[in-house]
């Protein structure tokens, strides 16, 4: 696509990921944004574009308040005291790829010179998804009266289809989750820093909505990440090695269904279209990706993304995992969770995937640095509802 490799990430900041931050989410966001801008070698006054996807993804009855449980782009620009040329929010699913696509387009078009993309996520007090509703209005009237509610039941139906169809085992998923937690345990800002999870502990966990147990779900957290985007030309004048956006794909057409009904065939058929767009627009083939980062807010998404992206044949991801095929410490394996993902960091949505691509491709991953990665893919949400971004260490 026209915008390929013309826009780069030039700096970042990631807050600590905690169960409940001492600070209000908005305050943490302002601080993180200032750190990201400084990291890029810029001043706040130079940043003239702000993009986010501010969704507060709780099914519970919590109030959604700007600056408290979510942080919009306009809220942040105002609190930073910036008269922004461009401030906008992405409304769809696949919030991180969606926001990145808007930032890329704002920079390429000249709507803004330096765009800050942030994602602020909040864990409210009390149960994250519990909802005391007595009446089911609107679209919820079709599923709530039957007790079908919340994202765990949603992913349980799709994952059970996968288990039944391909004969996958819990042992395979134990390997997925322990891989995410192994990598997350090495990341100082992660909620799970120095807290890996053994496969046996995964296997011992009781079911919540079969076949989903607690460890298949990322843990709700307070956390903020921010990234600065600008043109490839301006990036060359800044302190860190740029990481270029080669392409993105979001928003493939989904079948209209009952609320939260994501059958496996929908995920895989539309996921194939998401991937086709991604490879076509980025000019990259799956075999060229040496840093795939699949989304894992629920563990089955790891299989769905690996197969949708064409990293392995349909129905084979669970076998590959059991053979050590995603072990980030094994040369030749696919390091799909090397950044820890959401399971290994906390519910930061697609941030861990994006951050791992940035850190590794810019050579800033420190002790975790992998040898000369060149192409990364950062996925978010489901292959059918969400999206992905291809990042490159070089302009090509």
């Amino acid at each position: 696509m026209e915008a390929s490799n013309r826009v780069a990430i030039v700096g970042y900041a990631q807050s600590p990921v905690t169960r409940h931050a001492d600070q209000t989410l908005g305050g943490l966001t302002v601080e993180t944004a200032r750190r990201a801008i400084a990291d890029a070698g810029l001043t706040v006054a130079q940043v003239d574009g702000f993009v986010t996807a501010s969704l507060f993804p709780s099914a519970g009855a919590h109030a959604a308040e700007d600056g408290v449980s979510l942080v919009s782009a306009n809220w942040l620009a105002e609190r930073l005291g910036v008269n922004a040329n461009y401030a906008a929010g992405f409304q769809g699913f696949g919030q991180i790829p969606g926001a990145v696509s808007m930032a890329v387009n704002a920079v390429v078009s000249g709507a803004a010179d330096y765009v800050l993309v942030h994602r602020a996520l909040h864990n409210p007090q009390g149960s994250y998804h519990q909802n005391p509703m007595e009446e089911a209005h609107g679209s919820q009237q079709w599923t709530v009266p039957q007790g079908y509610f919340g994202p765990l039941a949603m992913i349980a139906l799709a994952y059970n289809e996968y288990l039944q169809r391909f004969g996958a085992t819990r042992e395979a998923m134990a390997a997925v989750v322990s891989e995410a937690r192994k990598n997350g345990a090495r990341i100082p800002w992660s909620y799970w820093f120095e807290k890996p999870l053994e496969a046996a502990d995964y296997l011992a966990a009781p079911m919540i909505n079969d076949p989903i147990c607690r460890f298949d779900c990322d843990i709700p957290v307070d956390g903020v990440a921010a990234f600065v985007f600008t043109t490839a030309e301006r990036a060359r004048e800044l302190p860190h090695r740029p990481v270029y956006v080669a392409g993105y794909a979001t928003g493939a057409p989904v079948k209209r269904r009952l609320p939260l009904h994501w059958p496996l065939d929908d995920i895989m058929e539309v996921g194939a279209e998401t991937s086709r767009r991604l490879w076509e627009r980025s000019g990259v083939r799956p075999a060229e990706v040496d840093l795939p980062q699949v989304y894992d807010g629920f563990s089955p998404f790891v299989y769905f993304w690996m197969e949708s992206l064409g990293l392995c044949p349909i129905g084979e991801a669970h076998r590959l995992v059991l053979e050590g095929g995603i072990d980030s410490d094994c040369p030749g394996a696919l390091p799909v969770l090397s950044g820890g993902g959401a399971l290994g960091n906390g519910r930061m949505h697609g941030v861990p995937q994006m951050l791992e691509c940035y850190l590794q491709l810019s050579g800033r991953a420190g002790e975790r640095q992998r040898p000369n990665p060149s192409i990364g893919v950062a996925c978010h949400s489901s292959p059918h509802f969400g999206g992905a971004v291809v990042y490159s260490a070089q302009v090509f």
Binding site: E134, G147, A156, A158, R256
Partner: protein, 139 residues
């Protein structure tokens, strides 16, 4: 179980005929006046022919179908449901890929498999309010 009563469906202008039929233990699915295809739930635009004025007619169907997937709900985020209970994702015989999610009344120990036949039943949850559910056909 979270204390309280099960949430009740609140019919609106577009859904009232569905719940009126359900109260009589009849599954009436929205059928597009232009192309004749069923949609559940009824959308603003017909999913099949794209009509922006589908003028859905709620048409009784048998409600028999096959299980495509299931989950055992051992924890519910909603009030009023005794756990565990089973939810089934059912493809109705009335039309290819027409899907309904409902409780399976056979209980949490029922042995299930993809493709198993189910029949429609109704749960009476409040006076004048019934909700579609399923039962294994051979049980």
């Amino acid at each position: 179980m979270i204390a309280g009563t099960r949430p009740l469906p609140i019919p609106d202008k577009r859904s009232a005929p569905f719940w009126e039929a359900a109260a009589e233990h009849v599954l009436a699915v929205a059928r597009c006046s232009h192309c004749g295809a069923f949609s559940h739930p009824p959308d603003i635009v017909c999913s099949h022919c794209g009509s922006a004025d589908p003028a859905f007619v709620f048409t009784p169907v048998d409600g028999a179908g096959t299980i495509r997937s299931w989950t055992v709900m051992r924890q519910s985020f909603l009030p009023g449901f005794d756990v565990p209970f089973v939810l089934v994702d059912v493809e109705l015989e009335a039309q290819e890929d027409l899907r309904l999610i409902g409780r399976l009344v056979d209980g949490p120990d029922a042995v299930l498999q993809v493709g198993a036949a189910v029949s429609l039943v109704f749960e009476d949850v409040a006076p004048g309010v019934s909700v579609p559910a399923f039962a294994l056909t051979n049980s």
